[in-house]
Amino acid sequence: MHSILKTSLATLAAASITATAAFADSHALSGDLKITSDMSNPAPRAVMEGLVADFGAMHPELNIELTIVDREAWKTQIRNALTANPPDVINWYAATRMTPYVDAGLFMDISDLWAEPEMAALASTKGAMTLDGKQWGVPYTYYQWGVYYRKDIFEELGLTEPATWDEELANCQAILDSGRKCYTIGSKFLWTAGGWFDYINSRTNGYEFHIELANGEVPWTDDRVRQTFANWRQLIDMGAYVDDHQSYSWQEAMPFMVDGDAAAYLMGNFSVAAFRDGGLTDDQLDFYQFPTINPDVAPAEDAPTDTFHIASGAQNVEAAKAFLLYVTSADVQSEINGGDALGQLPVNANAAVSDDKFIQQGFDMLSNNASGGIMQFFDRDFPAEMASVGMEGLQEFMVFPDHLDDILERLEDARQRIYQ
């Protein structure tokens, strides 16, 4: 049954490509196509291998070599992979995270691919793939961030999903009074603190300000940044976060919520699988959008996008472009982002969204209630160096909020050096 479905999808996709794509029109693709992927976790790995198998079945003349690299290791290996004998297609991340490779001329400009008619369905992600007015890759999946919370604890305490900051603080006080922590977080690897900053800053000062800060156009010592930290500090001073979070990874912080010692977790949708593995049922687990802080700014959301790129040294550009078109086509998008595959959001507007409760909520939130804009996440929007210095400062702030002046001066010092 499954294989029949797969083959029919493949033929469908083949039909849609041959019908329109200029890159794969008259003659069949041939030669070697080398793909290096970072989709090393079990489910993504199966998706990637499936993609290659199906694409290979459509193009029997094409010999596809797939190399799968550990996802964390790839973050540093990509430099070597791109500089010496590069593969044709690689995985990476959207937005500013692409900058070093674009500046060094290691990613291929694929603006011509984006001019193809079928790419219109990906318009919403075009901005995240654009640097210097050109497009450098295609997205294949993205996921929402938000607050995952224990519905049963909320019901026990008679709480509802907060929509405003005041409701949020009142909820948190009630949770604390019941002897629990409001939020679990593990900040050992720093980035989790970046999520909190993204949300509080964009809710306080708006998306434009957040991006200006990411682009180095606003000093870190600006009063508006201080306002963000003042809002954040309200939660910290209440004792909203679990103790000793600087010693835990995000996975190690999860048992607090599974055991009911903490009520909520600001996280990406990839955490749902871990919650379910931990034994939480969909009756216990629910999701809400991060509450409004400043009613005058439109809500912006973190929705990190994972991408495919063509290396500038690619040998088989034609096949690489055809592969990118194939991955982003509506049917393939529906298939690979389905609940039994990646379990995330498809980038193609014509693709079907999985009927999973959390994916549905996320899709609804991002389509209807993210008018401020889509952020890619702290470590993808800010340049690499600023992100690393910044997240370290955020972690320190969460543990020692009194150090704020010192932290902001350090970040400002780093900003003046990095964005010269």
Binding site: R79, T83, A104, K188, A384, A387, S388, E392, Q395
Partner: protein, 307 residues
């Protein structure tokens, strides 16, 4: 017969004539080529890169000594890392007396002593990464064994690796465990070589206890002490693995040492400052050079004495 040899002499090849002088160099040649290519050349390259501003991918720009000026006079992270290196160098030396006492304790003939010796040596055999992991579990704020013990004595518990003022000491303690085992094994072999006649003579003269240890045993252990000192200093400068596994440089960078800082600036996920990383490497190189010079000088003195 003799005429034959004199006639043959001029016809001997160039190599035959210089055999004694050349052969050692021929044997040394492969090692020298590899050493030059894999050690000397990278060192020179590090010096060169340290004068550039380079992200490791694109064009490098020559910036003169700017990297060093920033590093030495205007970088708090460097100061923290340097200070931590000093802490490591000093506290890691504790492994030498600890190793000595354990070896003295184990240097006796009782049933099963081999087993006890192996158990004491065991931490040195397992990987540093595993030791780091075990200790980070031991230190865990709630679930860790350390806090369970402290709780038994009525203490509130302490988050060693999460506290910027304690974390480095926590990691050094973890590092001391295998290093003590290493020093112990060095001293155990050294104790085997102690001359029993000298001990006997000292005993007849009425030496015992710490006097015996200080004036008779320890001088004979001098070679072992020297080696223990060398490996401990080198171990302290190579503390990278423990830090990477136990705290990843955190909390807020308080456990960085120079080698970790170098990695972070130039090679890690967010590190794109090859020039700056190379400048740190050069500083670290000079620190190591102080010790290397001392080691070589002291070995040279020994050789001279032996002649």
């Amino acid at each position: 017969m003799s005429t034959a040899t004199t006639n043959a002499a001029p016809s001997r090849g160039w190599y035959k004539r210089n055999e004694i002088a050349i052969t050692p160099w021929l044997f040394l040649l492969p090692a020298m080529v590899f050493f030059a290519y894999y050690v000397i050349y990278p060192i020179c390259e590090s010096f060169r890169i340290s004068f550039y501003d380079w992200d490791g991918l694109g064009e490098a720009t020559y910036v003169g000594t700017a990297n060093y000026e920033r590093l030495l006079f205007d970088d708090r992270k460097f100061n923290v890392s340097f200070l931590n290196n000093i802490k490591w160098l000093i506290l890691y030396l504790l492994a030498i007396p600890l190793g000595l006492f354990i070896s003295l304790f184990l240097n006796q003939t009782v049933r099963g002593i081999r087993l006890y010796k192996s158990l004491f040596f065991f931490p040195f055999v397992i990987s540093q990464v595993v030791v780091g992991l075990v200790f980070s579990w031991f230190y865990l704020p709630k679930e860790g064994l350390l806090n369970a013990i402290l709780a038994y004595f009525g203490s509130d518990g302490v988050n060693i690796l999460g506290d910027p003022s304690l974390a480095t000491y926590g990691i050094i303690a973890a590092g001391l465990w295998p290093q003590t085992a290493y020093c112990m094994i060095l001293y155990l072999t050294g104790l085997n070589a102690v001359d029993p006649e000298q001990v006997e003579a000292a005993r007849l003269d009425g030496a015992k206890g710490h006097k015996m240890l200080w004036y008779v045993i320890l001088p004979q252990l001098k070679p072992a002490t020297f080696i223990a000192f060398v490996v401990t200093i080198i171990g302290a400068l190579r503390s990278f693995d423990f830090i990477a596994v136990m705290t990843n440089g955190g909390p807020f960078g308080s456990t960085r040492v120079l080698s970790f800082y170098m990695f972070e600036e130039s090679l890690s996920e967010f590190g794109f400052r090859m020039g700056y990383g190379a400048a740190i490497a050069v500083v670290l190189f000079f620190i190591m050079l102080i010790f290397i010079t001392y080691f070589l000088w002291s070995m040279y003195q020994d050789e001279k004495g032996a002649r």
